[in-house]
């Protein structure tokens, strides 16, 4: 057989590894700052500038950790493992470089634009449309390079890690495109194409599966490669890994609606989401056990090798998070966990434990290999391991505690049937937990800094191996599959087939779930009194989105006694038909705002937004002084109304032309009322006027309904 010689490239894995660690550190630091902001609102620095408030910083933190830290982590592993598993270099160096620099460019654009307030208002998909397009292009470049490599391989068989990479690639592409359907209004401003319930369903189908196919499946690919490598023994059961793969990708895609239990989403869709979430335990635990059993008989190694220690905790956290997830999708558990710190604890078990520790383990293994040396200090790595574990515990425990405390306080009634606690009482109670959590995060970050030091030292003691030579025979052209392996040869050795099949598998779930919501009119009962927003309210709503108020406030009252008593009539699907995008939120650091309209006078909001503690002593909400300086962007009214009508919002024909007249009339009304009734002087073109108009409108439409039982 003729042997061919070729070279594995180590440069791109090195670049991606550096980017991963760098952005990871930045992203976690932002998380720590955001955590402290919740306890000490002065840290929002909103007296000086509007850029660092919690509502803007948190999306930068989440996006940085997901797409910059984990994203670069995935690419590190892919660019290292795929060539070695397929015995060929990555297909195209230029594509690889474009991929690397393009991705880093996207990250920088993302950070800058989010801090400046350019956002779509949909969690983990906040980036505006030009960046969305850029992401699509770079993702295609990545896909081309990966498939080019697979098609020019010297190993017929695709190892299971590669299946995970392929499925992740195709699913992320689908999720990103479907969820980013938006109508551009201007450069860096767009509206989601979907509205209300539909937008919510698409968004959480995306949100859930971003966790599944960005944070989980590609990392499982890494686990199936690096864990056996580090332990120096093959995976416990390759058969189990096949089951793990197919059932995982099949089931995951259905589970999205468990983020919307008890909301205005149709019941049947909620039930499907729950059923599939429960089933998910099986493949997830299959995978976890497969990982842990790989170390059977090697536990003495685990005690000594920090790499394996990190892997063991990572895989254990994977198991914990995938057990907790299905539990959280049980309706009665979800009633407690949703909108609370429980969800935050849950995702951080995943992010800090599973993604973080798997990445650290991979880096401690990989960097010495790339620099042809030994790890600078095993002891330091072990210290990192213990500090990191402590950090996770100190992060998670206060969050669980706070979730239960606030649940019991929120749902407590006095014997007379009154709510026992004000919202602000709950806020005051959980602040100590926020502080502990922030300290937990700081400890975890300290561990990461130790790792940076250790890895830099390692690199300095070694010498970088830019390429590694290897030899392998070319693929035989006249290959015949052995008898009895018909299935096998049909799918597993055919990468394109594998790609298409995984697309079909994940596509079915998405379609079955979403099409009916789009099709069936009865799914979203319309409410005649619900009308489109006035131009001023629309501008105010865009400010609400821009400031990321949804990071702390929900707009969705669930049909529980303790919610209805606190916030008002529960939310109906028909109320949101003009909400492009929906703003239901996912976390209540502040109270629900679905019925805020009319609850207070205009002057209350005026004072509250300028200094929340003036109206609500002890509040941890940031202040928004910039809104009292900046003027409403009237030039955009025309194109905003136009975009809305294009998407089916029934503004009268040619309303664009006169919309600003209505806007000014309403704004003057609010400003003069403030002056006459409250002696507050404010020019009517300031942003705060638009925001007040929007807040006073939220949730009031159904109150105008004629009473049916007359």
């Amino acid at each position: 057989m003729n042997q061919q010689t070729f070279h594995y490239d180590n440069k791109l894995p090195k670049y991606f590894a550096i980017a991963c660690i760098f952005w990871g550190t930045v992203g976690m630091l932002l998380g720590v700052i955001a955590a402290f902001q919740l306890a000490f609102p002065v840290l929002n620095f909103s007296e000086f500038m509007p850029y660092l408030t919690f509502g803007r910083l948190r999306p930068v933190h989440t996006n940085a950790v997901i797409f910059a830290f984990v994203g670069n982590g995935i690419f590190t592993g892919v660019y290292y493992a795929i060539p070695r598993l397929l015995k060929t270099p990555m297909w195209n160096k230029t594509l690889g470089n474009i991929h690397f620099w393009g991705w880093q460019f996207i990250i920088v654009c993302a950070a800058v634009s989010l801090l400046m307030g350019f956002t779509t208002g949909k969690e983990y998909a906040e980036l505006e449309w030009p960046i969305d397009i850029l992401i699509t292009l770079i993702w295609v470049v990545f896909g081309l390079n990966m498939f080019g490599t697979i098609l020019t391989r010297r190993e017929r068989h695709l190892y299971v890690a590669i299946w995970f990479f392929i499925a992740s690639w195709v699913t992320v592409a689908m999720l990103h495109i479907v969820n980013s359907m938006e109508f551009p209004v201007s450069f860096m401003k767009s509206y989601s194409w979907y509205a209300g319930v539909q937008d919510a369903l698409v968004q959480w189908w995306y949100g859930h599966n971003a966790v599944a196919f960005f944070l989980t499946t590609p990392y499982l690919g890494l686990m199936y490669y690096f864990l056996p490598k580090a332990a120096d023994r093959p995976v416990y059961s390759y058969r189990l890994s096949i089951v793990h793969f197919w059932s995982l990708i099949f089931l995951y895609i259905w589970a999205g609606p468990h983020h919307l239990l008890y909301t205005a989403l149709p019941d049947w869709a909620q039930s499907v989401g729950t059923a599939f979430s429960i089933m998910l335990i099986l493949p997830s635990w299959g995978g976890m056990l497969n990982g842990l059993f790989t170390l059977r008989g090697a536990w003495d190694k685990v005690r000594e090798d920090p790499v394996l220690k990190f892997f063991v905790v990572a895989v254990t956290c994977y198991g914990m998070a995938t057990f907790e997830g299905p539990m959280l999708s049980l309706k009665n558990v979800n009633a407690i966990s949703h909108y609370s710190d429980w969800t935050i604890a849950h995702v951080h078990i995943g992010a800090l434990g599973w993604n973080g520790f798997l990445t650290f383990g991979m880096m401690y293994w990989l960097i010495p290999k790339l620099f042809n040396t030994k790890l600078y200090s095993r002891k330091l790595a072990s210290t990192h391991f213990w500090i990191g574990t402590l950090g996770i515990l100190l992060y998670a425990i206060p969050m669980y505690w706070s979730a239960f405390r606030s649940y019991f306080m929120m749902s407590a009634f006095t014997p007379e049937g009154q709510l026992q606690y004000e919202f602000i009482d709950v806020v005051q109670t959980v602040i100590p937990f926020y502080i502990m959590r922030a300290i937990g995060g700081t400890i975890y970050l300290t561990g990461v800094l130790l790792m940076c030091y250790n890895l830099i030292k390692t690199a300095k003691t070694g010498e970088f191996v830019a390429t590694e030579e290897a030899t392998a025979p070319a693929l035989a052209k006249d290959y015949k599959a052995p008898a009895n392996s018909i299935w096998h040869s049909l799918i597993e050795r055919k990468p394109i087939m594998l790609l298409i099949l995984s697309l079909v598998v994940v596509g079915i779930g998405g379609l079955v779930e979403m099409i009916p919501t789009f099709l069936v009119k009865e799914n979203i009962p319309s409410i005649a009194s619900v009308k489109p927003y006035t131009p001023l309210e629309l501008q105010g709503r865009d400010l609400y989105i821009k400031e990321g108020c949804y990071n702390c406030h929900s707009q969705m009252i669930r049909p529980f006694r303790y919610e209805v008593a606190r916030y008002g009539e529960y939310s109906k699907a028909g109320e949101f038909v003009y909400d492009h995008p929906f703003q239901w939120g996912s976390k209540r650091t502040g109270p629900d705002l679905a019925r805020i309209g009319g609850k207070y006078g205009d002057s209350w909001h005026f004072n509250h937004m300028l200094d929340p503690t003036s109206m609500s002593p002890g509040s941890i909400m940031p202040s928004y002084p910039a809104m009292y300086e900046d003027v409403i962007d009237k030039a955009s009214t025309n194109s905003k109304i136009h975009a809305m009508r294009q998407m089916g919002v029934p503004y009268p024909a040619n309303y664009e032309a006169i919309a600003n007249q209505d806007l000014e009339k309403q704004a003057n009304g609010i400003a003069s009322k403030l002056l006459i009734e409250n002696k507050i002087k404010i020019s009517s073109d300031k942003e705060i006027i638009a925001l007040i108009a929007y807040l006073q409108r939220i949730g009031t439409d159904i109150k105008l309904q004629p009473n049916p039982s007359k």
């Binding site: 070695r84 190892y159 093959p234 059932s247 039930s271 290897a470 009119k521």
Partner: protein, 57 residues
């Protein structure tokens, strides 16, 4: 332009979850069958792929 105006009616939505469950069950059993049909030697070779980078030292 509005999404739902294109697709106004479909009857019997409740059948969707049922169909999907059946699909999954069928799919699952096919997969189990496939998994067991793979040759043992073949499995052994595949699971050792990560160790076979054919490096010249």
């Amino acid at each position: 332009m509005k999404f739902s105006t294109y697709l106004v009616h479909i009857t019997g939505v409740s059948i969707y979850p049922l169909i999907s469950l059946c699909l999954f069950v069928v799919f699952f059993f096919l997969m189990i069958y496939w998994m067991y049909s793979i040759d043992k030697k073949e499995i052994e070779r595949i699971q050792n792929l990560p160790f076979d980078d054919h490096k010249k030292i």
